[in-house]
Symmetry: C2
Subunit: 393 residues, 2 copies
Amino acid sequence: MDSFEFYSPTRFVFGRESEKKTGDLVRRCGGTKVLLHFGGGSVKVNGIYDKVVASLTQAEVPFIPLGGVQPNPRSGLVREGIDLCRREKVDFILAVGGGSVIDSAKAIAFGTVYAGDFADYYFGKDVKAPKPVPAALPIGAVLTIAAAGSEGSANSIINLEPGNLKRGATGEALRPKFAILNPMFTYTLPPFQTACGAVDIFAHLVERYFTPTQDVMVSDELCEGLMRSVVVASVKALAEPTDFAARSDLMWAGSLAHNNVCGAGRVQDWASHGIEHELSALYDCAHGAGLAVVMPAWMDYVKDTDLARFARFAEKVFGVAPADKTLMVDEGIARYRAWIHSLGLPLTFRELGAKAEDIPALVAKLGLNGNTLGRFRPLKDDDVAKILESCAR
Amino acid sequence: MDSFEFYSPTRFVFGRESEKKTGDLVRRCGGTKVLLHFGGGSVKVNGIYDKVVASLTQAEVPFIPLGGVQPNPRSGLVREGIDLCRREKVDFILAVGGGSVIDSAKAIAFGTVYAGDFADYYFGKDVKAPKPVPAALPIGAVLTIAAAGSEGSANSIINLEPGNLKRGATGEALRPKFAILNPMFTYTLPPFQTACGAVDIFAHLVERYFTPTQDVMVSDELCEGLMRSVVVASVKALAEPTDFAARSDLMWAGSLAHNNVCGAGRVQDWASHGIEHELSALYDCAHGAGLAVVMPAWMDYVKDTDLARFARFAEKVFGVAPADKTLMVDEGIARYRAWIHSLGLPLTFRELGAKAEDIPALVAKLGLNGNTLGRFRPLKDDDVAKILESCAR
């Protein structure tokens, strides 16, 4: 096991009606004036917005609403939020939404207290050691989709305009103080979004599972257990959208998949996420849909690096019976694709709406500049191109 | 899934030489004068004490040593520590040891800032809703045995003298700010202590696994994965005490088994712990040894409450092949006992050094007063007596 620090001080408040605690939690974090940040308005339609407002009102916490966060959240709205928070002397950012809303809230929380341009800290992936964000306003999240895990992470990813460079920042200051997890809030999600969320959660575990570090039994067990849970629960939730147990397992798995308890003690990969970010930046596709295309293709390309690990993945996660290792590996990846397909998500460039002729531009925008991507099998530009070409066939 | 809050703000610092960060971590927590609390002196023999002192000295943090914590830590030393901390204006408590040292440190951290007697908050188990400890000095831990999980928990258990009432307190203020986890510190443990620690870790998972709450797939998977890890790693660590991977898995599993990530969303049992505390209070036996006797006997007594759950335990944790449910259940408990026996731990009153004629006194001291113990199957006085009698046969 490699050396590590594990520090996850987010207070996860889980259950039916947990949103009723929002106002009190903001108060306990010292918030006296809140930016209430949300997305395209679905939270107003399904009543979640009103429930959060009721809790803030009951706790006598004044707030200023700022909606309009798009999937793949844009820097333009972040700048608007920063101006608003400074002008109105906001001291707490409350995100009501999924990963995009929370990531946008994090950027605003940082930018409001940072004297320069917030984008200074949203480095390109070619920067080897990005500096952590030094400070931010406190952040809380009311989660509406089980997916990104941003409610318990210290990361934020923003589309920097113009040019749609999708870039991330990190830092303990970005970690939400609390996350409200009410699984019933996900009952009304469109099936496509539920599916994208499940594939994203699974991908966060895959990025931590495929590692050059040997002998970390505990982390292997945690990753495999959560991967199995996500596969089972996603199928149940799509079949019966109001299955509370399935929605609960998905939501809690989503937080645990990305607060890093599953990545303790070993090198992680993250190549697939890096490649996918270029797809969603260019095509504005859902992150989960992009991962559905990229990650199985990544597996096919890198499987020879450690056949034993891929065979274990096949057996433990998808129940492939022990047999010839190569056969097991291929069967495991096939079952992974079959699960994705059963959720109604794309597996190819064509199904995603991506184009083979964009591959050189996608690789160039990734900006490796001679560096490598990923740590299970470090990839160069031409490796990335080959993975994308396999998706375009 | 039941509603829950999960909040685990301890910073776990894991790896070889992680103790070198102790002084800096104390400083980051605002500590300027430390009580350095430890046990019977083994940390001085094996060099751990000197390494911690070196780190404190390098960070220019003055400290006052207070050794002598016994297993089943006594209130007498706690009171001595409280007096010392008040007199010397100590503002940080650093525990170097295992669960007993950390629990004693927690009691001192609380008692130093509490105007009354610290024991006021160490309620008997018959108190239905104990009040959480309101405040305490900040606490850090340098762990020397994988076992109790106190390094990441908000609980403390003390033997209250005279009478050796073993009683607990709880409260967020008792949760360590950081825990230093260097698996190499456990290389020199006597095999008996390594074994007791493994059985204690496993028991923390069992207490969370056997629950009346249905349908919590994620928590089931986490518990089962960690139980399997503990069984495998404990056997390896006893065979080869310097097996870094095995020691790492045990240590990290110990922290995760008790910071409550494995208990999220469901009612937990804790009857076996309640019963065992009376054994270790009366006989001063190791907590893990007491659990080795009590917990399998508890399983035999309560298995009919939910045969399906015990069958799952047998299959998932001990690899019992699916068959007739009753046969699976008994085989699972038999393998659990076989694992304990293979570690060299007692399974009976006689092997533990306990006496059948003490059973009425043990039950009386538990003090149920007509209430019940445990929540998987609530136990009355006579249930507890029958479980203990089965150990004494």
